[in-house]
C-alpha cells in the first residue's frame, strides 16, 4: 500500500481527529505566540478540509456509489464483518461526503474571515479552540456509523456552539441567546438519547447499518419503532431549526460572531442530514418487505413536507418585519431550511408510496433539488452572514434604522451582499435558482399549491433583502459611522464563498451530476444516470444559466448605451422620483414630512396582515418555557400522527 492509499483508508478518522487534536493544543500554542496560534488554527482547517476534498474525490470519482468505512480498533472492515456491528464505525458514503465538502468549504471561509474579525476581542484562544471543536463535531455527526456517537457529536456540537454564542461577554444578550439555545438543544439531545435507548433495547445494537436491516424485518412496525422515529424526526428538525421548534435558532444565530453563524448553518444542516439518514437509511433499509413500513415512511414524508412549508412561510414572513440585520438573516435561514425539508419530504413521501412511477418521474428530482439546496444554502447563507458581520463591524450597530450609506465606502462588501442576496432569493442566474428550479418543478407535480407557496416565499425573500440593501448600503452617508472597507482577510473570507457561488451558478449541472446525484443514490438507491450537461434538466423542463448570462450582458450594454445617449441627470430633490412613495397616502401631514424608517418600508403590507402577525408576536414571546412547550407539543403531534393516524 502506498502512502496515498493509507491516507485514504484512514481519512475518515483523520478528518475528525485533526481538528480535535489541534483544538486542544490551541491554548498551548497560544502561550508561545498569538500569530502562531492563528496559523495553527488555519492549518487545522486547511488540513482536514484538504483531506475531506481528497476523500470526496475518491468517493465521487467512479459514479459515487462507493462508501469509505472506517472501523475503530479493527484491521479492516471486511475481515471483521460480524464484529463491525458492535464496533464504533465511521461510514462515509455519497451523502456524508457531500455534507463534509460543504462543511470544509464554509469553515475555510469562516476561519480566514475570523482573523481580523475577532482581533479586538479577548479570549481568542477559546474562540479558535471552540471553532475547531465545532468543526470536528460537524464532521463527526455526518460520518458516524452508529447512533450513540450521533448523540455524542450532537452534544459536542451544541456545547461548542453555545460557548461561541456567548463569546462576546460584554453583551448580556449573548448569554441569553446561548442559554436558550443550550436549553433547547440539551433537551433535544436527551430525548434523542432516550430514542436511541428504545432502539437499543429492542434490537440490541447501535450500528445504523445493522439496525436498518433489523427494523421492519418481521414484516410489521413495532410501537417502539414508531415512537423512536417520531422522536428522531422531531429532534433533528429542531437541530435544523424547523418551525415550530425554531424559536431559539434566531437568538443563537443573531448573537454568535458572524463567522460562527456561517458555520452554525452547516451545523444545522448536519441535523437535516441526520434526519434524512434516520428516515431513508435507518427506517428505509428494508423497504421492499413491509407494507406497514412503507405507510410509516409515507407519513413521515408528509410530516417533513408540513414542517417544510411551515418553515418556509413563517420564516420569511417573520424576516420581513425584523430590524436587527442578523436576526433577519437568521429567519431567512429557517425559511430556506424549509425548502430542503420540502424537497426531500416530497421525495420521501413518493419514495415510500410504492406501486407507481411518481418517484422516478418527479420524486427523485425533488430530492435532488432539496439536497442541492443544502449545498447552495451553505454557500450563500454563509456569505450573507459574513457580510452582515462586516456591516456590524464597520457600522457598530445591528439596527437597520441606524445604518445607511455604507455602500459608498464598502463597495466590495456591497457586491458580495448583492451576490448572496440574488442567490438566496433565487433570482436567475444565481445558484439558488438552480436548486429552487428543481424544487418548484417537481413539487408542482406533487401538489400545485405547495409549489406556488414555494415561489411566493422566494418573492418575499427578495423583498426583505431589497429592504436590507436599501437601509444598509443606500442613502446618504452617516457621519457617525466609521468609514472605509473591512480588513483584507475578511474580504478574502467572503470572496472564497462568493467565488464558489459565481462558479456554480453557471455550472449547476456539474454539481448535480457529480456530487448531488451520488448523495441521492446513497439515500434512496440508484436511479438513471445523470450526465454532465450545460443545461439543467428537471424532467419537466430545462434551465441554462449561460443563456441568461448572455441576456443579462446584452441588457447591460443596452442600458449603458441608453445612459450615454440620454446622459446622467441623476436624481435631485426637485424630481418627482425623489419623493417618498407611501402607497398613495399623503407624504406629509400639516407640513411635517412622514418618515418611514429603513426597517419598516413594508409597513402597509405588514399592517394589512396584522391578524397574522399578532399571534406570531405572541408565539415568539421570549419565554423559554413556552418554547419548550411548543417543542413537546410538536413531538406529541408527530408521534400521534405516526402511531394512530396510519
Amino acid at each position: 500500500m502506498s502512502f496515498y492509499d493509507d491516507l485514504i483508508a484512514n481519512a475518515p478518522a483523520l478528518i475528525v481527529a485533526i481538528p480535535l487534536l489541534f483544538a486542544f493544543a490551541t491554548p498551548l500554542v497560544s502561550k508561545i505566540n498569538k500569530g502562531l496560534r492563528n496559523v495553527w488554527a488555519f492549518l487545522a482547517v486547511l488540513l482536514s478540509g484538504a483531506l475531506m476534498y481528497v476523500l470526496a474525490w475518491e468517493i465521487f470519482k467512479d459514479g459515487g456509489d462507493l462508501a469509505s468505512v472506517y472501523v475503530f480498533g479493527g484491521d479492516n472492515a471486511e475481515v471483521f464483518n460480524v464484529l463491525e456491528n458492535v464496533r464504533i464505525t465511521f461510514y462515509v458514503d455519497g451523502m456524508a461526503a457531500f455534507m463534509g465538502l460543504i462543511m470544509a468549504t464554509v469553515a475555510f471561509g469562516a476561519i480566514i474571515y475570523s482573523f481580523s474579525f475577532v482581533k479586538k476581542y479577548s479570549g481568542q484562544d477559546k474562540y479558535y479552540t471552540l471553532l475547531l471543536l465545532m468543526l470536528a463535531a460537524n464532521f463527526g455527526m455526518v460520518f458516524t456509523g452508529d447512533l450513540f456517537n450521533l448523540f455524542v457529536w450532537f452534544e459536542v456540537s451544541s456545547v461548542a456552539i453555545c460557548g461561541l454564542i456567548a463569546f462576546r461577554t460584554n453583551r448580556g444578550e449573548s448569554f441569553e441567546g446561548a442559554a436558550k439555545y443550550l436549553i433547547y438543544s440539551t433537551i433535544a439531545g436527551l430525548l434523542l438519547l432516550f430514542a436511541i435507548g428504545l432502539l437499543y433495547g429492542e434490537y440490541g445494537h447501535l450500528n445504523i447499518k445493522y439496525l436498518s436491516s433489523a427494523i421492519g424485518a418481521g414484516g410489521s412496525m413495532l410501537m417502539i419503532d414508531r415512537i423512536a422515529l417520531g422522536i428522531l424526526v422531531t429532534v433533528f428538525a429542531l437541530k435544523a431549526g424547523a418551525v415550530p421548534m425554531h424559536m431559539a435558532t434566531p437568538d443563537g444565530y443573531s448573537e454568535a460572531p458572524a463567522p460562527i453563524t456561517a458555520m452554525m448553518v452547516t451545523a444545522s444542516q448536519a441535523g437535516l442530514y441526520a434526519m434524512f439518514r434516520s428516515t431513508f437509511t435507518l427506517y428505509g433499509g428494508n423497504i421492499q418487505n413491509a407494507v406497514e413500513q412503507l405507510d410509516l415512511l409515507h407519513a413521515a414524508g408528509y410530516l417533513l413536507v408540513i414542517l417544510g412549508v411551515l418553515s418556509m412561510f413563517v420564516g420569511v414572513t417573520l424576516a420581513l418585519v425584523q430590524k436587527d440585520i442578523k436576526r433577519l438573516m437568521a429567519y431567512h435561514a429557517i425559511s430556506q431550511t424549509g425548502y430542503m425539508l420540502l424537497g426531500v419530504g416530497v421525495g420521501l413521501a413518493v419514495y415510500a408510496q410504492g406501486g407507481n412511477n411518481d418517484f422516478a418521474e418527479f420524486g427523485r428530482t425533488a430530492m435532488a433539488g432539496g439536497i442541492f439546496h443544502i449545498f447552495n444554502h451553505a454557500l450563500y447563507k454563509g456569505l450573507l452572514f459574513l457580510t452582515a458581520g462586516a456591516i456590524i463591524y464597520k457600522a457598530g450597530t445591528r439596527d437597520l434604522n441606524k445604518m445607511g450609506g455604507l455602500g459608498r465606502d464598502m463597495k466590495m462588501t456591497a457586491l458580495f451582499f448583492i451576490i448572496g442576496a440574488l442567490a438566496i432569493a433565487g433570482v436567475p442566474p444565481a445558484n439558488g435558482f438552480a436548486s429552487k428550479f428543481l424544487i418548484y418543478e417537481s413539487v408542482f407535480r406533487f401538489n400545485p399549491v405547495i409549489g406556488a407557496v414555494a415561489m411566493l416565499v422566494s418573492l418575499l425573500t427578495l423583498a426583505s433583502f431589497v429592504k436590507v440593501f436599501y437601509s444598509a448600503f443606500m442613502g446618504p452617508k452617516n457621519p457617525d459611522m466609521k468609514v472605509g472597507e473591512v480588513p483584507k482577510t475578511m474580504l478574502i473570507g467572503m470572496a472564497v464563498l462568493a467565488g464558489m457561488i459565481l462558479v456554480f451558478s453557471f455550472l449547476p449541472s456539474l454539481v448535480l451530476s457529480e456530487i448531488v446525484d451520488p448523495a441521492v443514490t446513497a439515500l434512496a438507491g440508484p436511479g438513471p444516470a445523470i450526465d454532465f450537461n450545460l443545461t439543467l434538466f428537471s424532467g419537466q423542463g430545462g434551465w441554462n444559466a449561460l443563456v441568461f448570462l448572455v441576456v443579462f450582458i446584452v441588457m447591460f450594454i443596452l442600458g449603458y448605451l441608453l445612459r450615454l445617449v440620454l446622459g446622467n441627470k441623476g436624481t435631485t430633490p426637485k424630481n418627482e422620483g425623489a419623493k417618498p412613495y407611501l402607497f398613495g397616502n399623503p407624504t406629509e401631514i400639516g407640513g411635517v414630512p412622514i418618515v418611514v424608517s429603513g426597517s419598516n418600508v413594508y409597513w402597509g403590507f405588514i399592517r394589512a396582515l396584522k391578524r397574522y402577525y399578532r399571534p406570531m408576536e405572541k408565539m415568539h414571546s421570549g419565554l423559554i418555557n413556552e418554547y419548550v412547550f411548543w417543542f413537546m407539543g410538536t413531538i406529541g403531534l408527530v408521534m400521534l400522527a405516526l402511531m394512530v393516524l396510519i
Partner: protein, 120 residues
Amino acid sequence: MMSEIPYIAVVALIGIGLYIVMFKRNLIKLAMGITLIETGANLFLITLAYRSGDRLSAPVMTSQIMGGGAPAYSLPTPHALTLTSIVIGVATTALLLAFFMQLYKKFKVSSVDEMRRLRG
C-alpha cells in the same frame, strides 16, 4: 412487576423534569429540571443493560439468577453509554449554570420572565 419499577422511575423522572422545564419560571429550577431529564435517560440506559435470556449479542459480565430462573447478565455497552452521557451532562449543566450566573451578574436576572430581551 419488580423488574418494571425502574421503567416507572424513568417515566416519572423524565415527566417531572419536562414539567419543570415547561412550567417553572426560576432559572435554577430550570437547570434542575434538565438534570432530572438527564438522570431519567441515564437510568433508562442502565435498566436496559440488565436482562435475562440468551440474547448474547455482547460479552456477558455478571451471572445471577433473575426472574424465571434464566441466568441474568449485564451488557457492557449501556454502561459505557451511560458513562459518556453523564460526562456530557456535567458539561452541559456546568455551561448552563455559567450562563445563568453571568445573566444574573449583568441584568440581575433570576427568572425566565426577565430573560426575554431577544424575542419577536
